[in-house]
């Protein structure tokens, strides 16, 4: 049984159309495993081999991977939520009620999006402190640390802009508190606040701006910087292994 299944899988993988898409072909050799990573536009951000020590749980607690996991959950649930959401006042709030009472699994979708968002903010912070205490930010990884700081800020902005979208009391006043801080910037505080809200108070324009930022601009920025972040891991010699004596064997 297992044999016929294997044969079937092999047949599919040797098929001309399959081979035109995935060129690494069939086979279990390390060459094939290397090509699998190298010849895929997304996977080739990663190196072909990794030091075994860096895979131990204690090395990273997998915090970077988990952060990326929450981001993927957020993209999927976020796109589904967009199907039920209008960024207008007061329809936005009515859509929340629809999610609650009309849409199948609407509550679950919103719950998952919200808890994953909190988890992502927490994990980004945890990841940063773990990297710091490991000393993994030091040469040659300085620049990737800075990309990480940028990603921290993008994450906070994503979470903050998303906070307004339900258009309930919690959302409205949390964003009012935040936008008042922006107006404390010397000289151009009021201008920054106006640019941020599209007006002098949190209103329908602000909701639309936050929606565009939350659903288009910031996710694109996040994806871009995540790609650079992953690619730099490979370019900087793989995940930090714990001491500088092994740094000589970079790829």
């Amino acid at each position: 049984m297992a044999n016929t299944l294997d044969q079937l899988v092999d047949q599919v993988r040797e098929n001309r159309i399959w081979r035109s898409i995935f060129r690494s072909g069939t086979g279990e050799s390390n060459l094939h495993k290397s090509l699998f990573v190298q010849q895929n536009v997304f996977l080739h951000l990663f190196s072909i081999k990794a030091r075994k020590r860096t895979l131990e749980f204690s090395a990273t607690w997998y915090l970077g991977a988990l952060t990326f996991g929450t981001f993927m959950i957020l993209v999927i649930t976020g796109v589904l939520l967009m199907l039920y959401y209008h960024p207008s006042v007061p329809q936005a709030y009515a859509d929340m009620k629809d999610l609650q009472y009309v849409v199948s699994s609407g509550v679950f979708l919103r719950n998952l999006h919200r808890w994953s968002a909190h988890a992502m903010v927490f994990l980004v912070f945890a990841h940063m402190f773990k990297v710091f205490y490991r000393g993994a930010y030091r040469t040659p990884r300085e620049f990737n640390w800075i990309i990480g700081v940028v990603l921290l800020l993008v994450t906070l902005l994503l979470s903050y802009t998303g906070y307004l979208l339900p258009w309930d009391q919690l959302a409205f006043w949390a964003v009012t508190v935040g936008s008042n801080i922006a107006s404390a910037v010397p000289l151009m505080g009021a201008k920054i606040r106006f640019l941020m809200l599209g007006g002098t108070a949190v209103n329908a324009n602000a909701l639309l701006r936050f929606y565009v930022l939350h659903c288009v601009i910031l996710p694109l920025a996040a994806i871009l910087f995540i790609a650079v972040h992953f690619w730099r891991i490979r370019k900087d010699g793989g995940i930090y292994a714990g001491d500088h004596s092994s740094e000589g064997s970079n790829q």
């Binding site: 050799s29 390390n30 060459l31 290397s34 996977l43 190196s47 072909i48 081999k49 990794a50 030091r51 075994k52 020590r53 895979l55 997998y62 991977a65 988990l66 990326f68 996991g69 993927m72 959950i73 006042v89 679950f108 919103r110 719950n111 998952l112 808890w115 994953s116 912070f125 940063m128 710091f132 205490y133 000393g135 030091r138 990884r141 300085e142 800075i146 700081v149 921290l152 906070l156 979470s159 906070y163 309930d168 009391q169 919690l170 409205f172 006043w173 949390a174 009012t176 508190v177 935040g178 801080i181 922006a182 404390a184 910037v185 010397p186 108070a201 500088h244 004596s245 092994s246 064997s249």
Partner: protein
């Protein structure tokens, strides 16, 4: 001639190892060789498999959370009706707590600006790659500077009545002083590890401590008019 099917040619692609490095040791360099060969695994499937398992475990945990607890949803936004207290999202409550003591330009602009600047500087700030302990060299002078900085900063916090930030600062200062008074030769356990910590470690740990304390206070211990409350009891 037909090709026999009953054997399989396997090419060990590891036959060619990573190129060997040859070091020429001249008179003035140390002949100590620190680079060693390490066990490596293939990214596919080993690393991807582990990452996938980790992410799926988290996904299951989040799905269970989403099934058990509903996301908060209050009434329709009403600009005429301010809730008391109006709180920012939890990750900004540390800042909002600061806003209670300092003018907005300090708490809302200067402090976060400096934090981001400091985070960017960190990898360049740590100039000695060996990350030498803060008190290993030049102890007397460093203790003097440390003392002055701590006293001035504590006076600053006391003037603004920021006791919630003062207490963690004093605890960290006490730990640093203890590390300074520890003899690295005879110390054991955690005291030994504290002696070896560089300045960047102390600053980051102080920052983490303050961040946690202020965020927890802002989230759980602040009520109407930003007064003290107990999360299980209501207003004090």
């Amino acid at each position: 001639m037909s090709t026999p099917k009953d054997f399989l040619a396997v090419v060990d692609s590891d036959a060619r190892k990573t190129p060997r490095r040859i070091a020429f040791i001249t008179k003035r360099t140390s002949p100590q060789v620190r680079v060693k060969d390490e066990d490596r695994v293939m990214t596919y499937p080993e690393v991807f498999f582990r990452a996938t398992v980790a992410i799926e475990t988290l996904a299951i945990a989040l799905v269970i959370t989403a099934l058990l607890w509903d996301a908060p949803l209050e009434g329709l936004a009403d600009p005429m009706h301010t809730p008391n207290p109006a709180k920012a999202p939890w990750y900004f409550l540390g800042l909002q707590e600061m806003l209670h003591y300092f003018p907005p330009v300090v708490a809302g602009v200067l402090v976060p600006g400096l934090v981001v600047m400091a985070l960017i500087i960190i990898p360049y700030f740590n100039i000695n790659i060996e990350a030498e302990g803060m008190w290993v060299k030049d102890k007397a002078r460093r203790l003097r500077i440390f003392g002055i900085v701590v006293v001035l900063f504590c006076i600053f916090l006391a003037v603004f009545h920021v006791w919630v930030a003062l207490v963690p600062t004093l605890i960290m200062a006490a730990l640093m002083y203890m590390a300074a008074q520890t003899d690295p030769q005879t110390a054991t356990g955690y005291r030994r590890s504290l002696v070896s910590k560089p300045l960047s470690f102390w600053i980051m740990t102080w920052f983490l401590f303050e961040l946690v304390v202020l965020t927890v206070i802002g989230t759980f211990f602040r009520g109407p008019g930003w007064s003290w409350v107990l999360p299980w009891k209501g207003a004090l």
